[in-house]
């Protein structure tokens, strides 16, 4: 039982209850588990590991009708970069859980290619960026202009080692409001089939995961 402070004295600290401690421990475990699951998704599976599938995809963007570089890599950090968010299709993806997708070589990074390592199942995949408003159904906004696109649904089959799910093309416009936080507004997401390009990337960087299979994602 916690001791009561004596009358007329100031209590220096409040006794921390068991429930508070358990909450903190649970939060720490949750944070550690989240970090571990993200790192698993962004690392290539070890050779001989059965189950996980390497999901290959690309992002592309048009700004005011012109193609602009869209990258999924963490650098260069002064350029517009997209992060990913992946989760089950049963509920909306939390914008606080976006992360940098798995990285391939520099050439593939520059062209907007990245991967995720996922166990077989059905997922939704969304893209997020700082200072970007996604004006599309299912999109979400965060603080200071952080935005997340609508989710695209993808199915990861059990018998695939390497899967191409499409090229996610965003149609965006540059915003120029002096006091605004969003630098661009992306109004459409189109999933394109660039299987031939995906094969080249697969041969160059992911050959050890077997033949590339294509199952395009679809917008919800």
């Amino acid at each position: 039982m916690a001791r009561r402070p004596e009358r007329g004295t100031t209590r220096l600290w409040r006794p921390v209850g068991l429930s508070n401690s358990l909450h903190l421990i649970a939060l720490a475990f949750l944070a550690a588990a989240c970090a571990a699951s993200t790192s698993q998704m962004t690392s290539l599976p070890k050779q001989g590991t059965a189950g996980d599938v390497v999901v290959l995809f690309r992002v592309a963007a048009d700004e005011d009708g012109k193609p602009v570089p869209a990258i999924l890599s963490p650098s260069p950090r002064w350029k517009w970069r997209l992060q990913v968010n992946v989760g089950p299709t049963s509920h909306a993806l939390n914008t606080g859980r976006t992360f940098t997708a798995g990285q391939l070589d520099a050439t593939a990074q520059e062209a907007g290619w990245a991967f995720l390592t996922l166990p077989p199942g059905t997922y939704q995949l969304a893209f997020a960026a700082y200072r970007t408003r996604f004006a599309m159904p299912g999109a979400q906004g965060g603080a200071l202009g952080f935005g997340q696109s609508q989710g695209a649904e993808l199915a990861v089959p059990r018998d695939a080692g390497l899967l191409y799910v499409g090229t996610f093309g965003f149609t965006c416009q540059r915003l120029n409001r002096w006091w605004g936080y969003a630098e661009r507004e992306c109004t459409a997401l189109e999933i394109r089939d660039e299987e031939a390009l995906a094969r080249e990337v697969a041969v160059a960087s992911l050959g050890r995961f077997g033949a590339l299979r294509t199952e395009l994602a679809s917008t919800r």
């Binding site: 963490p74 950090r77 002064w78 700082y130 200071l144 915003l175 409001r177 006091w179 605004g180 630098e183």
Partner: protein, 205 residues
């Protein structure tokens, strides 16, 4: 992985070596006061102020969408983090300045304007670290920027304003602030800025 293990061991050795008071006492000693010429505090303070103002100007002009501008915004973050950290250290450890008390072990005695850690040393290290980390591998001449914290640190010891360990700790605080600001996904202050500042004054007007 091997490099990380070695770094960790080195860090442990350094921590173990510096954790003993005798080591600190070995490092700290009073030097003859010299505030003439380039060691005049107003000279290096003016230099730091000039560089800080220059950095703010560069950040505002360039914005966050260029490599240089983005690094300048990280430099601003770094200086702010270092300033807050050094103030926290000063208020916590309350070490007397050498000119006020010649005993380097006079911790928890000073009431204001305390010695540990050196604010100027931390500020100068925090000012240059983001640039060194960003450009060092491409342009090795950028490492010459490290002369600034060295100069300021020596100046502070010569002015009898700081003990040697205050300066070393100040460099560490400034360096860590710079590293943290550099490795962040987005610069903190820039994130709070509206479009007009984010793209840089060169583009907004």
């Amino acid at each position: 992985m091997i490099l990380w293990a070695l770094q960790k061991r080195l860090l442990l050795v350094v921590l173990a070596a510096t954790a003993t008071t005798s080591t600190w006492a070995d490092i700290d000693h009073l030097v003859t006061e010299d505030t003439s010429g380039i060691w005049n505090p107003s000279i290096y303070r003016g230099l730091q102020l000039g560089l800080t103002i220059g950095q703010i100007g560069l950040a505002l002009y360039e914005g966050g969408e260029t490599r240089l501008g983005n690094t300048a915004w990280r430099g601003i973050d770094s200086e702010l983090i270092a300033a807050v950290s050094t103030e926290a250290f000063k208020r916590t450890f309350r070490r007397a300045r050498p000119r006020d008390n010649p005993d380097p072990d006079s911790w928890f005695t000073c009431s204001s304007n305390c010695s540990f850690v050196s604010g100027e040393a931390a500020e100068s290290a925090s000012l240059v670290t983001p640039y060194i980390l960003e450009y060092g591998s491409d342009y090795p001449a950028v490492y010459l920027l490290a002369v600034l914290p060295l100069y300021v640190g020596v100046g502070r010891v010569k002015a009898q304003a700081h003990w040697q360990t205050d300066v070393i700790a100040g460099w560490a605080v400034g360096g860590l602030s710079g590293w943290y600001a550099h490795q962040r996904d987005q610069p903190i202050v820039l994130q709070l800025m509206p479009h007009g500042i984010f793209v840089g004054l060169k583009k907004s007007f």
